[in-house]
Symmetry: C2
Subunit: 312 residues, 2 copies
Protein backbone atom coordinates (compact mmCIF):
# COMPACT_ATOMS: atom_id res chain seq x y z
CA UNK A 1 0.00 0.00 0.00
CA UNK A 2 1.26 3.45 -0.76
CA UNK A 3 1.73 5.88 2.09
CA UNK A 4 1.96 9.63 1.94
CA UNK A 5 3.63 11.22 4.94
CA UNK A 6 0.76 13.65 5.55
CA UNK A 7 -2.36 11.72 4.82
CA UNK A 8 -2.01 8.24 6.19
CA UNK A 9 -0.67 6.38 9.15
CA UNK A 10 -1.15 3.40 11.40
CA UNK A 11 -3.49 4.01 14.31
CA UNK A 12 -4.36 1.06 16.49
CA UNK A 13 -3.42 -1.38 13.81
CA UNK A 14 -5.66 0.11 11.14
CA UNK A 15 -4.48 1.83 8.02
CA UNK A 16 -6.03 5.21 8.34
CA UNK A 17 -6.13 7.75 5.66
CA UNK A 18 -6.86 11.08 7.29
CA UNK A 19 -9.33 12.30 4.71
CA UNK A 20 -11.04 8.91 4.76
CA UNK A 21 -11.21 9.17 8.55
CA UNK A 22 -12.91 12.55 8.33
CA UNK A 23 -15.29 11.28 5.65
CA UNK A 24 -16.18 8.17 7.61
CA UNK A 25 -16.89 10.13 10.79
CA UNK A 26 -18.82 12.77 8.93
CA UNK A 27 -21.05 10.10 7.45
CA UNK A 28 -21.64 8.54 10.86
CA UNK A 29 -22.54 11.91 12.32
CA UNK A 30 -24.82 12.89 9.44
CA UNK A 31 -26.65 9.58 9.69
CA UNK A 32 -27.11 9.97 13.43
CA UNK A 33 -28.22 13.60 13.11
CA UNK A 34 -30.78 12.53 10.53
CA UNK A 35 -32.08 9.91 12.97
CA UNK A 36 -32.26 12.28 15.93
CA UNK A 37 -33.97 15.17 14.13
CA UNK A 38 -37.76 15.04 13.67
CA UNK A 39 -38.69 14.52 10.02
CA UNK A 40 -39.61 17.53 7.89
CA UNK A 41 -43.06 16.04 7.49
CA UNK A 42 -43.70 16.06 11.25
CA UNK A 43 -45.84 19.01 12.39
CA UNK A 44 -45.13 21.79 12.90
CA UNK A 45 -43.35 21.18 9.59
CA UNK A 46 -41.84 24.64 9.25
CA UNK A 47 -39.71 24.41 12.38
CA UNK A 48 -38.40 20.97 11.51
CA UNK A 49 -37.63 22.09 7.97
CA UNK A 50 -35.80 25.13 9.36
CA UNK A 51 -33.77 23.00 11.77
CA UNK A 52 -32.83 20.50 9.08
CA UNK A 53 -32.03 23.22 6.59
CA UNK A 54 -29.60 24.77 9.10
CA UNK A 55 -27.99 21.37 9.77
CA UNK A 56 -27.81 19.84 6.31
CA UNK A 57 -25.70 19.66 4.23
CA UNK A 58 -23.63 21.28 6.99
CA UNK A 59 -19.94 22.02 7.27
CA UNK A 60 -16.96 19.92 8.23
CA UNK A 61 -18.60 18.54 11.39
CA UNK A 62 -15.32 19.41 13.11
CA UNK A 63 -16.77 19.57 16.61
CA UNK A 64 -18.45 16.16 16.72
CA UNK A 65 -15.46 14.60 14.95
CA UNK A 66 -13.21 15.98 17.70
CA UNK A 67 -15.48 14.42 20.33
CA UNK A 68 -15.40 11.04 18.60
CA UNK A 69 -11.62 11.23 18.11
CA UNK A 70 -11.14 12.01 21.81
CA UNK A 71 -13.14 8.93 22.80
CA UNK A 72 -11.01 6.75 20.54
CA UNK A 73 -7.72 8.24 21.68
CA UNK A 74 -8.48 7.28 25.29
CA UNK A 75 -9.19 3.77 24.07
CA UNK A 76 -12.96 3.57 23.95
CA UNK A 77 -15.64 3.01 21.31
CA UNK A 78 -16.82 6.25 19.77
CA UNK A 79 -20.18 4.79 18.66
CA UNK A 80 -21.52 5.07 22.16
CA UNK A 81 -21.09 8.84 22.30
CA UNK A 82 -22.74 9.66 18.99
CA UNK A 83 -25.68 11.45 20.68
CA UNK A 84 -23.23 13.72 22.53
CA UNK A 85 -21.22 14.35 19.37
CA UNK A 86 -24.44 15.27 17.54
CA UNK A 87 -25.53 17.49 20.44
CA UNK A 88 -22.29 19.47 20.03
CA UNK A 89 -23.05 19.98 16.33
CA UNK A 90 -26.61 21.10 17.19
CA UNK A 91 -25.18 23.63 19.62
CA UNK A 92 -22.74 24.94 17.01
CA UNK A 93 -25.59 25.22 14.51
CA UNK A 94 -27.91 27.01 16.95
CA UNK A 95 -25.17 29.58 17.55
CA UNK A 96 -24.83 30.17 13.79
CA UNK A 97 -28.60 30.54 13.27
CA UNK A 98 -28.88 33.13 16.05
CA UNK A 99 -25.64 34.88 15.06
CA UNK A 100 -26.93 35.37 11.53
CA UNK A 101 -30.10 37.15 12.71
CA UNK A 102 -30.63 40.78 11.61
CA UNK A 103 -30.24 42.01 15.20
CA UNK A 104 -26.84 40.31 15.45
CA UNK A 105 -24.51 39.80 12.47
CA UNK A 106 -27.30 40.29 9.93
CA UNK A 107 -25.94 37.71 7.49
CA UNK A 108 -28.19 36.85 4.57
CA UNK A 109 -26.10 33.85 3.59
CA UNK A 110 -24.59 30.89 5.30
CA UNK A 111 -22.44 28.40 3.39
CA UNK A 112 -23.63 29.81 0.07
CA UNK A 113 -27.34 29.42 0.86
CA UNK A 114 -29.90 31.79 2.39
CA UNK A 115 -29.46 31.98 6.15
CA UNK A 116 -32.23 30.52 8.30
CA UNK A 117 -34.13 33.78 8.82
CA UNK A 118 -33.89 34.59 5.12
CA UNK A 119 -35.41 31.25 4.21
CA UNK A 120 -37.97 30.85 6.99
CA UNK A 121 -38.50 34.27 8.56
CA UNK A 122 -36.99 35.77 11.68
CA UNK A 123 -39.59 34.31 14.04
CA UNK A 124 -38.95 30.77 12.89
CA UNK A 125 -35.17 31.31 12.90
CA UNK A 126 -35.24 32.42 16.54
CA UNK A 127 -37.35 29.41 17.51
CA UNK A 128 -35.31 27.02 15.34
CA UNK A 129 -32.14 28.12 17.14
CA UNK A 130 -33.89 27.63 20.48
CA UNK A 131 -35.07 24.21 19.36
CA UNK A 132 -31.61 23.09 18.23
CA UNK A 133 -30.16 24.07 21.61
CA UNK A 134 -33.00 22.33 23.43
CA UNK A 135 -32.68 19.15 21.37
CA UNK A 136 -28.96 19.13 22.16
CA UNK A 137 -29.69 18.75 25.86
CA UNK A 138 -32.26 16.06 25.14
CA UNK A 139 -29.61 14.10 23.23
CA UNK A 140 -27.04 14.64 25.98
CA UNK A 141 -29.38 13.20 28.58
CA UNK A 142 -30.34 10.29 26.33
CA UNK A 143 -26.68 9.44 25.84
CA UNK A 144 -26.54 8.61 29.54
CA UNK A 145 -28.98 5.77 28.97
CA UNK A 146 -26.75 4.01 26.44
CA UNK A 147 -24.82 0.90 27.34
CA UNK A 148 -21.25 1.53 28.39
CA UNK A 149 -21.88 5.20 29.19
CA UNK A 150 -21.73 6.27 32.81
CA UNK A 151 -24.65 8.36 34.01
CA UNK A 152 -22.40 10.29 36.38
CA UNK A 153 -20.05 11.22 33.56
CA UNK A 154 -22.99 12.25 31.39
CA UNK A 155 -24.23 14.59 34.09
CA UNK A 156 -20.78 16.14 34.44
CA UNK A 157 -20.62 16.66 30.69
CA UNK A 158 -24.01 18.36 30.58
CA UNK A 159 -22.79 20.89 33.14
CA UNK A 160 -19.45 21.35 31.38
CA UNK A 161 -21.15 21.99 28.06
CA UNK A 162 -23.74 24.36 29.54
CA UNK A 163 -20.98 26.41 31.18
CA UNK A 164 -18.83 26.39 28.03
CA UNK A 165 -21.66 27.95 26.02
CA UNK A 166 -23.11 30.27 28.69
CA UNK A 167 -22.27 33.85 29.61
CA UNK A 168 -18.91 32.79 31.01
CA UNK A 169 -18.19 31.06 27.71
CA UNK A 170 -19.58 31.31 24.19
CA UNK A 171 -22.43 33.76 24.82
CA UNK A 172 -20.13 36.02 26.87
CA UNK A 173 -17.65 36.05 23.98
CA UNK A 174 -20.43 36.90 21.54
CA UNK A 175 -21.58 39.79 23.73
CA UNK A 176 -18.06 41.21 23.96
CA UNK A 177 -17.63 40.74 20.24
CA UNK A 178 -20.86 42.70 19.67
CA UNK A 179 -19.59 45.46 21.91
CA UNK A 180 -16.30 45.58 20.06
CA UNK A 181 -17.84 45.79 16.60
CA UNK A 182 -17.99 49.34 15.33
CA UNK A 183 -21.45 48.86 13.86
CA UNK A 184 -23.06 47.97 17.14
CA UNK A 185 -23.00 51.42 18.66
CA UNK A 186 -26.67 51.75 17.82
CA UNK A 187 -27.70 51.03 21.36
CA UNK A 188 -26.93 53.70 23.91
CA UNK A 189 -26.02 51.27 26.65
CA UNK A 190 -23.22 49.63 24.72
CA UNK A 191 -19.91 51.43 24.55
CA UNK A 192 -17.98 50.49 21.43
CA UNK A 193 -14.37 49.60 22.09
CA UNK A 194 -11.74 51.66 20.31
CA UNK A 195 -9.37 49.49 18.30
CA UNK A 196 -6.34 50.90 20.11
CA UNK A 197 -7.91 49.98 23.42
CA UNK A 198 -8.29 46.37 22.47
CA UNK A 199 -5.27 44.60 23.77
CA UNK A 200 -4.08 41.18 22.74
CA UNK A 201 -5.40 39.87 26.03
CA UNK A 202 -8.88 41.19 25.32
CA UNK A 203 -8.97 39.80 21.81
CA UNK A 204 -7.76 36.43 23.01
CA UNK A 205 -10.35 36.46 25.75
CA UNK A 206 -13.12 37.03 23.20
CA UNK A 207 -11.81 34.32 20.86
CA UNK A 208 -11.32 31.83 23.66
CA UNK A 209 -14.87 32.24 24.86
CA UNK A 210 -16.59 32.73 21.53
CA UNK A 211 -14.95 29.86 19.67
CA UNK A 212 -12.41 27.90 21.69
CA UNK A 213 -14.53 26.94 24.71
CA UNK A 214 -16.98 24.90 22.63
CA UNK A 215 -14.16 23.18 20.73
CA UNK A 216 -12.37 22.49 24.00
CA UNK A 217 -15.47 20.96 25.56
CA UNK A 218 -15.91 18.65 22.55
CA UNK A 219 -12.57 17.05 23.39
CA UNK A 220 -13.21 17.10 27.11
CA UNK A 221 -16.60 15.45 26.66
CA UNK A 222 -15.07 12.71 24.53
CA UNK A 223 -12.23 12.19 26.99
CA UNK A 224 -14.53 11.98 30.01
CA UNK A 225 -17.23 9.82 28.38
CA UNK A 226 -14.50 7.58 26.97
CA UNK A 227 -13.26 6.98 30.50
CA UNK A 228 -9.93 8.82 30.10
CA UNK A 229 -7.61 9.45 33.06
CA UNK A 230 -7.37 12.91 34.62
CA UNK A 231 -4.06 13.41 32.78
CA UNK A 232 -5.64 12.42 29.46
CA UNK A 233 -8.64 14.67 30.03
CA UNK A 234 -6.35 17.62 30.76
CA UNK A 235 -4.13 16.93 27.75
CA UNK A 236 -7.11 16.76 25.40
CA UNK A 237 -8.69 19.87 26.91
CA UNK A 238 -5.40 21.72 26.49
CA UNK A 239 -5.18 20.57 22.89
CA UNK A 240 -8.75 21.77 22.37
CA UNK A 241 -8.01 25.20 23.81
CA UNK A 242 -5.08 25.67 21.45
CA UNK A 243 -6.76 24.47 18.27
CA UNK A 244 -9.90 26.39 19.21
CA UNK A 245 -8.01 29.65 19.35
CA UNK A 246 -6.07 28.66 16.22
CA UNK A 247 -9.36 28.00 14.44
CA UNK A 248 -10.58 31.54 15.12
CA UNK A 249 -7.28 33.09 14.00
CA UNK A 250 -7.47 31.14 10.73
CA UNK A 251 -11.02 32.46 10.28
CA UNK A 252 -9.80 35.99 10.83
CA UNK A 253 -6.85 35.54 8.45
CA UNK A 254 -9.17 34.16 5.75
CA UNK A 255 -11.56 37.08 6.27
CA UNK A 256 -8.69 39.58 6.06
CA UNK A 257 -7.36 37.96 2.90
CA UNK A 258 -10.88 37.95 1.48
CA UNK A 259 -11.03 41.73 1.97
CA UNK A 260 -13.38 41.76 4.97
CA UNK A 261 -12.58 44.55 7.39
CA UNK A 262 -13.59 43.27 10.80
CA UNK A 263 -11.81 45.35 13.37
CA UNK A 264 -11.27 43.18 16.38
CA UNK A 265 -9.20 40.41 14.82
CA UNK A 266 -5.63 39.26 15.02
CA UNK A 267 -4.74 40.42 11.49
CA UNK A 268 -6.30 43.86 12.07
CA UNK A 269 -4.36 44.32 15.28
CA UNK A 270 -1.05 42.62 14.54
CA UNK A 271 -0.89 42.19 10.77
CA UNK A 272 -0.93 38.98 8.74
CA UNK A 273 2.64 37.93 9.42
CA UNK A 274 2.41 38.08 13.18
CA UNK A 275 -0.98 36.39 13.07
CA UNK A 276 0.49 33.46 11.15
CA UNK A 277 3.31 33.18 13.67
CA UNK A 278 0.80 33.10 16.51
CA UNK A 279 -1.16 30.46 14.65
CA UNK A 280 1.89 28.26 14.14
CA UNK A 281 2.74 28.65 17.80
CA UNK A 282 -0.75 27.50 18.84
CA UNK A 283 -0.64 24.47 16.56
CA UNK A 284 2.74 23.55 18.07
CA UNK A 285 1.30 23.89 21.57
CA UNK A 286 -1.69 21.78 20.60
CA UNK A 287 0.49 18.98 19.26
CA UNK A 288 2.72 19.04 22.32
CA UNK A 289 -0.30 17.99 24.39
CA UNK A 290 -0.64 14.83 22.34
CA UNK A 291 2.75 13.46 23.36
CA UNK A 292 1.31 11.19 26.06
CA UNK A 293 -0.86 9.39 23.52
CA UNK A 294 2.00 8.24 21.27
CA UNK A 295 0.84 6.83 17.95
CA UNK A 296 -2.80 7.16 18.92
CA UNK A 297 -2.41 10.94 18.92
CA UNK A 298 -1.67 11.00 15.22
CA UNK A 299 -5.23 11.71 14.09
CA UNK A 300 -5.47 14.80 16.27
CA UNK A 301 -2.05 15.95 15.03
CA UNK A 302 -3.46 15.79 11.55
CA UNK A 303 -6.58 17.67 12.67
CA UNK A 304 -4.30 20.42 13.98
CA UNK A 305 -2.46 20.59 10.65
CA UNK A 306 -5.78 20.53 8.84
CA UNK A 307 -6.98 23.54 10.82
CA UNK A 308 -3.75 25.46 10.20
CA UNK A 309 -3.65 24.75 6.49
CA UNK A 310 -7.24 25.27 5.43
CA UNK A 311 -6.99 27.88 2.75
CA UNK A 312 -3.93 29.69 4.08
CA UNK B 1 -55.67 29.38 66.63
CA UNK B 2 -58.27 30.68 64.19
CA UNK B 3 -58.83 28.77 61.00
CA UNK B 4 -60.45 29.97 57.80
CA UNK B 5 -61.77 27.22 55.58
CA UNK B 6 -60.03 28.52 52.44
CA UNK B 7 -56.71 29.85 53.55
CA UNK B 8 -55.32 27.53 56.16
CA UNK B 9 -55.04 23.89 56.94
CA UNK B 10 -52.90 21.27 58.57
CA UNK B 11 -50.31 19.74 56.29
CA UNK B 12 -47.86 17.32 57.84
CA UNK B 13 -48.46 18.73 61.29
CA UNK B 14 -47.73 22.31 60.37
CA UNK B 15 -50.21 25.14 60.35
CA UNK B 16 -50.01 26.32 56.80
CA UNK B 17 -51.57 29.43 55.51
CA UNK B 18 -51.70 29.16 51.75
CA UNK B 19 -50.63 32.72 51.01
CA UNK B 20 -47.83 32.37 53.54
CA UNK B 21 -46.81 29.13 51.87
CA UNK B 22 -46.58 30.89 48.49
CA UNK B 23 -44.67 33.80 50.01
CA UNK B 24 -42.23 31.53 51.80
CA UNK B 25 -41.50 29.48 48.68
CA UNK B 26 -41.23 32.58 46.54
CA UNK B 27 -38.63 34.01 48.89
CA UNK B 28 -36.66 30.76 48.84
CA UNK B 29 -36.73 30.71 45.06
CA UNK B 30 -35.79 34.37 44.69
CA UNK B 31 -32.87 33.93 47.07
CA UNK B 32 -31.65 30.86 45.18
CA UNK B 33 -32.07 32.56 41.79
CA UNK B 34 -30.05 35.49 43.06
CA UNK B 35 -27.31 33.10 44.13
CA UNK B 36 -27.25 31.17 40.85
CA UNK B 37 -27.27 34.19 38.55
CA UNK B 38 -23.96 35.94 37.85
CA UNK B 39 -23.86 39.39 39.46
CA UNK B 40 -24.69 42.44 37.34
CA UNK B 41 -21.15 43.66 37.93
CA UNK B 42 -19.64 40.57 36.33
CA UNK B 43 -18.52 41.13 32.72
CA UNK B 44 -20.05 41.18 30.24
CA UNK B 45 -22.26 43.30 32.49
CA UNK B 46 -24.96 43.99 29.93
CA UNK B 47 -25.99 40.35 29.50
CA UNK B 48 -26.11 39.73 33.23
CA UNK B 49 -28.12 42.89 33.76
CA UNK B 50 -30.52 41.81 31.01
CA UNK B 51 -30.94 38.33 32.51
CA UNK B 52 -31.55 39.71 35.98
CA UNK B 53 -33.90 42.37 34.72
CA UNK B 54 -35.99 39.67 33.03
CA UNK B 55 -36.01 37.54 36.21
CA UNK B 56 -36.49 40.15 38.93
CA UNK B 57 -38.85 41.15 40.42
CA UNK B 58 -40.59 38.39 38.46
CA UNK B 59 -44.06 36.98 38.66
CA UNK B 60 -45.72 34.46 40.92
CA UNK B 61 -42.93 31.87 40.52
CA UNK B 62 -45.73 29.38 39.96
CA UNK B 63 -43.60 26.84 38.10
CA UNK B 64 -40.82 26.45 40.66
CA UNK B 65 -43.37 26.48 43.48
CA UNK B 66 -45.17 23.59 41.80
CA UNK B 67 -41.91 21.66 41.62
CA UNK B 68 -41.18 22.24 45.30
CA UNK B 69 -44.75 21.34 46.29
CA UNK B 70 -44.53 18.08 44.32
CA UNK B 71 -41.33 17.11 46.16
CA UNK B 72 -43.02 17.75 49.49
CA UNK B 73 -46.21 15.92 48.59
CA UNK B 74 -44.26 12.72 47.89
CA UNK B 75 -42.64 13.14 51.29
CA UNK B 76 -39.22 14.56 50.55
CA UNK B 77 -37.31 17.75 51.35
CA UNK B 78 -37.83 20.44 48.74
CA UNK B 79 -34.59 22.27 49.61
CA UNK B 80 -32.60 19.72 47.69
CA UNK B 81 -34.32 20.45 44.38
CA UNK B 82 -34.01 24.25 44.49
CA UNK B 83 -31.62 24.28 41.50
CA UNK B 84 -34.16 22.36 39.41
CA UNK B 85 -37.00 24.60 40.56
CA UNK B 86 -34.94 27.66 39.60
CA UNK B 87 -34.04 26.09 36.26
CA UNK B 88 -37.76 25.81 35.48
CA UNK B 89 -38.22 29.51 36.23
CA UNK B 90 -35.24 30.36 34.00
CA UNK B 91 -36.82 28.37 31.19
CA UNK B 92 -40.16 30.14 31.64
CA UNK B 93 -38.35 33.50 31.61
CA UNK B 94 -36.31 32.64 28.50
CA UNK B 95 -39.55 31.82 26.69
CA UNK B 96 -41.04 35.19 27.66
CA UNK B 97 -37.93 37.13 26.57
CA UNK B 98 -37.92 35.48 23.14
CA UNK B 99 -41.73 35.65 22.80
CA UNK B 100 -41.65 39.40 23.37
CA UNK B 101 -39.16 39.99 20.52
CA UNK B 102 -40.31 42.14 17.58
CA UNK B 103 -40.19 39.14 15.23
CA UNK B 104 -42.54 37.20 17.51
CA UNK B 105 -45.20 38.86 19.69
CA UNK B 106 -43.55 42.29 19.49
CA UNK B 107 -44.41 43.26 23.04
CA UNK B 108 -42.85 46.45 24.35
CA UNK B 109 -43.88 45.76 27.90
CA UNK B 110 -43.71 42.87 30.30
CA UNK B 111 -45.20 43.09 33.78
CA UNK B 112 -45.50 46.87 33.47
CA UNK B 113 -41.84 47.42 32.58
CA UNK B 114 -40.03 47.64 29.22
CA UNK B 115 -39.52 44.18 27.76
CA UNK B 116 -35.96 42.89 27.53
CA UNK B 117 -35.33 44.01 23.95
CA UNK B 118 -36.79 47.45 24.67
CA UNK B 119 -34.44 47.91 27.62
CA UNK B 120 -31.30 46.26 26.25
CA UNK B 121 -31.66 45.98 22.47
CA UNK B 122 -32.76 43.06 20.35
CA UNK B 123 -29.30 41.53 20.09
CA UNK B 124 -28.87 41.34 23.84
CA UNK B 125 -32.44 40.10 24.34
CA UNK B 126 -31.86 37.18 21.95
CA UNK B 127 -28.61 36.29 23.72
CA UNK B 128 -30.11 36.81 27.19
CA UNK B 129 -32.88 34.35 26.33
CA UNK B 130 -30.28 31.88 25.07
CA UNK B 131 -28.26 32.39 28.23
CA UNK B 132 -31.24 31.81 30.54
CA UNK B 133 -32.02 28.54 28.76
CA UNK B 134 -28.38 27.49 28.90
CA UNK B 135 -28.02 28.34 32.58
CA UNK B 136 -31.13 26.27 33.27
CA UNK B 137 -29.39 23.13 32.02
CA UNK B 138 -26.28 24.01 34.02
CA UNK B 139 -28.43 24.19 37.16
CA UNK B 140 -30.21 20.95 36.32
CA UNK B 141 -26.93 19.11 36.00
CA UNK B 142 -25.57 20.67 39.20
CA UNK B 143 -28.65 19.52 41.09
CA UNK B 144 -27.51 15.95 40.46
CA UNK B 145 -24.44 16.59 42.58
CA UNK B 146 -26.44 17.55 45.67
CA UNK B 147 -26.79 15.20 48.59
CA UNK B 148 -29.93 13.12 48.56
CA UNK B 149 -30.52 13.64 44.84
CA UNK B 150 -30.13 10.65 42.54
CA UNK B 151 -27.96 11.21 39.48
CA UNK B 152 -30.09 8.81 37.44
CA UNK B 153 -33.26 10.70 38.29
CA UNK B 154 -31.56 13.99 37.44
CA UNK B 155 -30.62 12.69 34.02
CA UNK B 156 -34.19 11.51 33.39
CA UNK B 157 -35.49 14.95 34.39
CA UNK B 158 -33.11 16.76 32.04
CA UNK B 159 -34.47 14.72 29.14
CA UNK B 160 -38.07 15.18 30.25
CA UNK B 161 -37.65 18.93 30.50
CA UNK B 162 -35.82 19.21 27.17
CA UNK B 163 -38.62 17.30 25.44
CA UNK B 164 -41.34 19.31 27.20
CA UNK B 165 -39.91 22.56 25.84
CA UNK B 166 -38.76 21.34 22.40
CA UNK B 167 -40.59 21.19 19.08
CA UNK B 168 -42.86 18.42 20.36
CA UNK B 169 -43.71 20.62 23.34
CA UNK B 170 -43.46 24.32 24.09
CA UNK B 171 -41.66 25.47 20.93
CA UNK B 172 -44.01 23.43 18.76
CA UNK B 173 -46.98 25.09 20.46
CA UNK B 174 -45.43 28.52 19.90
CA UNK B 175 -44.92 27.78 16.20
CA UNK B 176 -48.54 26.67 15.77
CA UNK B 177 -49.68 29.70 17.72
CA UNK B 178 -47.65 31.93 15.36
CA UNK B 179 -49.23 30.21 12.39
CA UNK B 180 -52.67 30.71 13.83
CA UNK B 181 -52.25 34.41 14.55
CA UNK B 182 -53.73 36.54 11.81
CA UNK B 183 -50.84 38.96 11.88
CA UNK B 184 -48.26 36.37 11.01
CA UNK B 185 -49.22 35.92 7.42
CA UNK B 186 -46.26 38.08 6.46
CA UNK B 187 -44.21 35.08 5.52
CA UNK B 188 -45.23 33.27 2.39
CA UNK B 189 -44.47 29.83 3.75
CA UNK B 190 -46.83 30.13 6.68
CA UNK B 191 -50.50 29.58 6.00
CA UNK B 192 -52.64 31.41 8.50
CA UNK B 193 -55.36 29.26 10.01
CA UNK B 194 -58.90 30.45 9.52
CA UNK B 195 -60.74 30.76 12.80
CA UNK B 196 -63.49 28.45 11.61
CA UNK B 197 -60.92 25.80 10.78
CA UNK B 198 -59.52 25.80 14.25
CA UNK B 199 -61.23 23.06 16.13
CA UNK B 200 -61.32 22.60 19.86
CA UNK B 201 -58.81 19.81 19.43
CA UNK B 202 -56.35 22.08 17.64
CA UNK B 203 -56.66 24.86 20.17
CA UNK B 204 -56.20 22.42 23.03
CA UNK B 205 -53.20 20.95 21.30
CA UNK B 206 -51.58 24.39 21.04
CA UNK B 207 -52.37 25.24 24.66
CA UNK B 208 -51.17 21.90 25.95
CA UNK B 209 -47.84 22.24 24.21
CA UNK B 210 -47.32 25.98 24.60
CA UNK B 211 -48.23 26.24 28.27
CA UNK B 212 -49.27 22.99 29.91
CA UNK B 213 -46.23 20.82 29.07
CA UNK B 214 -43.83 23.01 31.04
CA UNK B 215 -46.21 23.20 34.01
CA UNK B 216 -46.71 19.43 33.86
CA UNK B 217 -42.98 18.78 33.83
CA UNK B 218 -42.51 20.98 36.90
CA UNK B 219 -44.70 18.58 38.86
CA UNK B 220 -43.18 15.52 37.25
CA UNK B 221 -39.65 16.72 38.02
CA UNK B 222 -40.57 17.32 41.65
CA UNK B 223 -42.28 13.93 41.92
CA UNK B 224 -39.36 12.03 40.37
CA UNK B 225 -36.59 13.89 42.22
CA UNK B 226 -38.55 13.53 45.45
CA UNK B 227 -38.56 9.77 44.96
CA UNK B 228 -42.29 9.40 44.34
CA UNK B 229 -43.84 6.09 43.25
CA UNK B 230 -44.93 5.56 39.65
CA UNK B 231 -48.53 6.12 40.74
CA UNK B 232 -47.61 9.37 42.48
CA UNK B 233 -45.61 10.58 39.47
CA UNK B 234 -48.55 9.89 37.18
CA UNK B 235 -51.06 11.56 39.50
CA UNK B 236 -48.95 14.70 39.77
CA UNK B 237 -48.29 14.79 36.03
CA UNK B 238 -52.02 14.46 35.37
CA UNK B 239 -52.71 17.25 37.83
CA UNK B 240 -50.08 19.36 36.03
CA UNK B 241 -51.65 18.75 32.63
CA UNK B 242 -55.04 19.89 33.86
CA UNK B 243 -53.92 23.01 35.71
CA UNK B 244 -51.58 23.86 32.83
CA UNK B 245 -54.42 23.94 30.38
CA UNK B 246 -56.61 25.73 32.93
CA UNK B 247 -53.88 28.34 33.36
CA UNK B 248 -53.92 29.14 29.64
CA UNK B 249 -57.71 29.35 29.53
CA UNK B 250 -57.65 31.80 32.45
CA UNK B 251 -55.09 33.87 30.54
CA UNK B 252 -57.32 33.90 27.51
CA UNK B 253 -60.41 34.82 29.56
CA UNK B 254 -58.53 37.69 31.22
CA UNK B 255 -57.32 38.90 27.82
CA UNK B 256 -60.84 38.74 26.41
CA UNK B 257 -62.25 40.61 29.41
CA UNK B 258 -59.46 43.16 29.02
CA UNK B 259 -60.57 43.81 25.46
CA UNK B 260 -57.74 42.00 23.67
CA UNK B 261 -58.87 40.32 20.49
CA UNK B 262 -56.62 37.31 20.05
CA UNK B 263 -58.28 34.92 17.68
CA UNK B 264 -57.22 31.46 18.64
CA UNK B 265 -58.44 31.35 22.21
CA UNK B 266 -61.18 29.55 24.09
CA UNK B 267 -63.30 32.67 24.60
CA UNK B 268 -63.02 33.67 20.93
CA UNK B 269 -64.10 30.22 19.81
CA UNK B 270 -66.62 29.22 22.44
CA UNK B 271 -67.56 32.39 24.30
CA UNK B 272 -66.87 33.33 27.91
CA UNK B 273 -69.51 31.12 29.49
CA UNK B 274 -68.41 27.90 27.88
CA UNK B 275 -64.77 28.79 28.57
CA UNK B 276 -65.51 29.17 32.26
CA UNK B 277 -67.30 25.81 32.27
CA UNK B 278 -64.29 24.17 30.64
CA UNK B 279 -62.05 25.83 33.20
CA UNK B 280 -64.11 24.57 36.13
CA UNK B 281 -64.06 21.09 34.60
CA UNK B 282 -60.25 21.14 34.34
CA UNK B 283 -59.85 22.30 37.92
CA UNK B 284 -62.11 19.47 39.02
CA UNK B 285 -60.06 16.97 37.04
CA UNK B 286 -56.86 18.36 38.51
CA UNK B 287 -58.12 17.99 42.06
CA UNK B 288 -59.35 14.47 41.44
CA UNK B 289 -55.74 13.43 40.80
CA UNK B 290 -54.80 14.53 44.31
CA UNK B 291 -57.05 12.00 46.00
CA UNK B 292 -54.22 9.52 46.64
CA UNK B 293 -52.27 12.08 48.65
CA UNK B 294 -54.98 12.71 51.24
CA UNK B 295 -54.28 15.73 53.47
CA UNK B 296 -50.89 16.30 51.85
CA UNK B 297 -52.63 17.18 48.62
CA UNK B 298 -54.27 20.22 50.17
CA UNK B 299 -51.66 22.72 49.02
CA UNK B 300 -52.04 21.68 45.40
CA UNK B 301 -55.81 21.84 45.71
CA UNK B 302 -55.40 25.42 46.81
CA UNK B 303 -53.03 26.08 43.92
CA UNK B 304 -55.72 24.82 41.55
CA UNK B 305 -58.30 27.15 43.14
CA UNK B 306 -55.76 29.97 43.03
CA UNK B 307 -55.30 29.48 39.30
CA UNK B 308 -59.04 29.37 38.66
CA UNK B 309 -59.81 32.43 40.71
CA UNK B 310 -57.07 34.84 39.74
CA UNK B 311 -58.89 37.85 38.47
CA UNK B 312 -61.98 36.09 37.20
Amino acid sequence: MGTSSLCSDHVRGRQVDFQAYLDEKRKLIDKALDEYLPQESEPPEIIHRAMRSALFPGGKRLRPILALAAVEIVGSDSQKVLPTACALELIHTYSLVHDDLPALDNDDERRGRPSCHKAFGEDIAILAGDALLTLAFDLLSRNGEMEGVKKEATLVIIGEIARAIGTRGMIGGQVDDLKSATESTKHVEKKAFKLEEVTQQQIESIHRRKTARLIEVCLKAGAILGGGSQREIEALSGYGQSIGLAFQIVDDILDAQGGEKREVTYPALFGLEKSKQKLAQLIKEAKSQLFIFGEKGKILEEVADFIMNRGI
